[in-house]
């Protein structure tokens, strides 16, 4: 036994059993490491980046549709009211947002118009990304109500001022109004 208390034969016998074959392969290690490396950040936004996006979106919403009377216009997104906004941040944004026109909103509608056969028509495309909104209605100038599909293109034709859309109403599952937005027509006249 040596001065450290080690039994010299033990060490020798163990070392004698060691397999000294060197079958190392650093390139294999690099290949495996590359397979484990996460994708570049540009394709996978970080939490901080998502946070900034949300903040920027909230500011846009607050400036554009938050305080003033919200309205629907040609190519304009419909901003959500306070209740709708809360749903904006529910869950993962990617599940509810659209990238339509580069804008991410819980609710997006577009109202366009053109003259046809001496009359007018409204082309309304809508897509709802708020889990809270379960139905959409279009209120016409004569007081009648037309239901809209949540996720479909709808062409709404009208021949006179009485059938022009004036309001868009979004309701939740209980039938309560989530947001009520006046429609601004392409001519710029507000039919509210």
């Amino acid at each position: 036994m040596n001065i450290d208390g080690n039994h010299p034969d033990l060490e020798e016998r163990l070392v004698a059993l060691a397999d000294l074959t060197d079958d190392s392969d650093w390139n294999d290690v690099r290949r495996r490491a590359n397979a484990l490396t996460p994708p570049p950040r540009a394709t996978r936004p970080t939490a901080a980046r998502r946070g900034w996006r949300r903040l920027a979106l909230a500011v846009i919403l607050a400036l554009g549709v938050g305080a003033a009377s919200p309205a629907v216009g040609l190519g304009d997104p419909i901003g959500a009211a306070a209740d709708g906004l809360s749903s904006l941040f529910r869950g993962e944004p990617e599940e509810h947002f659209s990238t339509h026109n580069g804008t991410r909103l819980p609710l997006y509608l577009q109202v366009g118009g053109r003259s046809e056969d001496g009359g007018s028509s409204e082309v309304i495309t809508g897509k709802v990304f708020s889990a809270k909104i379960t139905s959409l209605e279009l209120v016409l100038a004569d007081g009648s109500v037309v239901a809209l599909a949540l996720d479909a293109r709808r062409e709404f034709r009208y021949d006179n001022a009485a059938t022009q859309p004036t309001q868009l109403i979004a309701r939740d599952a209980d039938g309560d109004v989530v947001t009520r937005l006046p429609v601004i027509h392409p001519s710029g006249r507000d039919h509210d």
Binding site: G5, R13, A18, R30, A33
Partner: protein, 195 residues
């Protein structure tokens, strides 16, 4: 860990801090490759006592160094060799179990998880039997010392015990094995059997 062990661990940790080479502080690709070049055979041999074969040990070592490369920013200083060994041990255990059961940073209970043993006991049956009589942690310390050629501080960091405990465990293991093994002409016959 007992209070005595904790004090020893703290003391050993300070010693490690004082004597730590500069490159220990950063896990660069070059540093990891240097460890690989230097330790590959030793790690594979030591891991083989856990996995049961050289082939599976080789795969675990390759996987461990790949994980170390991919997650090198998670290295928080200390012995890079010990850090990679811990990853290697987890890779070895993961190859025996479902990977999800052995997360990268989980503190392992070595005595419960592993039972290292010589992979070719017939080459030295007396030694194999003597080693089997040791507790699992001591067995692993013996293999890390003589197969992986790690020093006491590195073994301490790799196994989560104090450097003093490593020294004591090795001394006890040697004493225990010396008692178990024949004292005259020991090893000569078995060494001759080695390839």
């Amino acid at each position: 860990m007992r209070d005595h062990d904790r004090r020893l661990a703290a003391s050993a940790s300070k010693d490690l801090e004082r004597h730590r080479p500069l490159w220990y502080m950063s896990a660069t690709v070059e540093a990891i490759e240097a460890v690989y070049r230097r330790r590959y055979v030793g790690y594979r041999n030591a891991l083989a006592t856990v996995t049961g074969s050289q082939d599976s040990a080789r795969d675990a070592v390759q996987e461990a160094f790949a994980r170390a490369l991919a997650h090198r920013r998670q290295f928080r200083g200390g012995s890079l060799e010990a850090w990679i060994w811990r990853i290697a041990l987890r890779a070895a255990l993961a190859s025996r179990r479902a990977p999800a059961e052995v997360p990268l940073e989980t503190q392992l209970n070595l005595d419960m998880l592993i039972s290292p043993a010589l992979i070719d006991p017939e080459r030295d049956p007396q030694l194999a039997q003597a080693i089997r009589s040791l507790p699992p942690r001591r067995r692993l310390i013996v293999f890390l010392r003589y197969f992986a050629d790690l020093d006491y501080a590195q073994i301490a960091s790799a196994t989560g015990v104090a450097a003093g405990t490593v020294a004591a465990a090795l001394a006890q293991a040697n004493a225990s094995l010396a008692q178990t093994l024949p004292r005259e002409g020991v090893g000569d016959e078995h060494r001759r059997q080695s390839p």
